[in-house]
């Protein structure tokens, strides 16, 4: 997998978190995982089409998900409800949009499919026969993970 791919998602997360939440994002060590990847309380999956085909997932703990939406809305959130899921889905949609813009600057033309938000009951995410690059991202309000899946050839 090209470094640009994962870097574009890191840079996009960093930019969008700064702009929307006034938070800095630091990346942790990238790990390669085959098959199942662990998930957190709120998982958002988006498809990528075009020059890079695959899937990206964002995983947040409940605490962090609620805090993100609290910062945005200025209102206390007590559960991952429709409002919180919708806001999270849209934030990751914007991040992925920025990532594809970054990729286009490297000459790769990609598009994203609308986010699917999965809350709670999913203990792991599996993309059949796919390798995933998992990148932990640290912020002042907690850690989240971005996993990029690309089909193995």
């Amino acid at each position: 997998m090209k470094a640009e791919y994962i870097n574009s998602f890191y840079n996009a997360s960093k930019d969008v978190f700064k702009l929307m939440l006034d938070l800095e994002v630091k990346r942790g060590e990238v790990a390669v995982v085959e098959g199942l990847t662990p998930s957190k309380d709120a998982n958002i999956i988006l498809g990528i089409t075009g020059d890079f085909k695959g899937t990206v997932s964002f995983s947040f703990t409940e605490e962090m998900a609620l805090e993100i939406v609290r910062i945005m809305s200025g209102m206390e959130m007590d559960e991952i409800d429709v409002f919180v899921s919708s806001a999270l889905g849209e934030v990751t949609n914007i991040i992925s949009g920025h990532a594809t813009t970054n990729l286009s600057e490297h000459g790769y033309i990609c598009d994203i499919t609308p986010p699917q938000v999965m809350v709670g009951e999913y203990k792991s995410i599996s993309m059949a026969n796919e390798k995933a690059l998992i990148m932990p991202m640290e912020t002042n309000i907690g850690e989240f993970e971005v996993a990029v899946f690309v089909p193995t050839k």
Binding site: S73, V82, S85, A87, I94
Partner: protein, 141 residues
């Protein structure tokens, strides 16, 4: 909802943004209010949605006029972002008109509108402020 770092330093635009965030905040509180039955909140929610939709159009028009007045170089890109933003709202209004105004759909919409507005004001509109400051800086030299 408003945060000082959303400010772009152009008073009329900042005031309109504050008004937008204030009304969006009221809208969100209304559609998330679990104390009152949805039927009893619906009329007020529709009214607020109408107001927000109208105010977004008024504000975007005004902001575009301001951009014209300062010969803002990225005006066409900005206009396109405004067009997409309005289209996003119109798509939901269509869903509401066709499928009824359900509480879940209204909550989903209010969250997206919040995200779009923060992103638009936090990114694209900041560029206008930057341009104005650069222009003023040159004027002083």
């Amino acid at each position: 909802m408003w945060k000082d770092y959303y400010s772009i330093g152009v008073e009329t635009i900042d005031d309109q943004h504050k008004e937008l965030f204030k009304n969006l905040g009221d809208f969100i509180m209304l559609v998330r209010d679990k104390e009152i039955k949805w039927e009893d909140r619906l009329d007020k929610a529709k009214e607020t949605l109408d107001f927000l939709q109208g105010y977004v159009v008024f504000h975007f028009d005004d902001e575009e006029k301001f951009q014209e007045s300062i010969n803002y170089p990225d005006i066409e890109i900005h206009k396109e972002a405004h067009r997409q933003f309005k289209e996003g709202i119109n798509e939901y209004v269509e869903i509401f008109n066709e499928g009824g105004f359900t509480e879940d759909k209204m909550q989903e919409f209010s969250a997206k509108l919040m995200t779009w507005l923060i992103m638009h004001v936090g990114k694209m509109d900041q560029e206008i402020g930057k341009f104005v400051r650069e222009m003023e800086g040159e004027g002083e030299q």
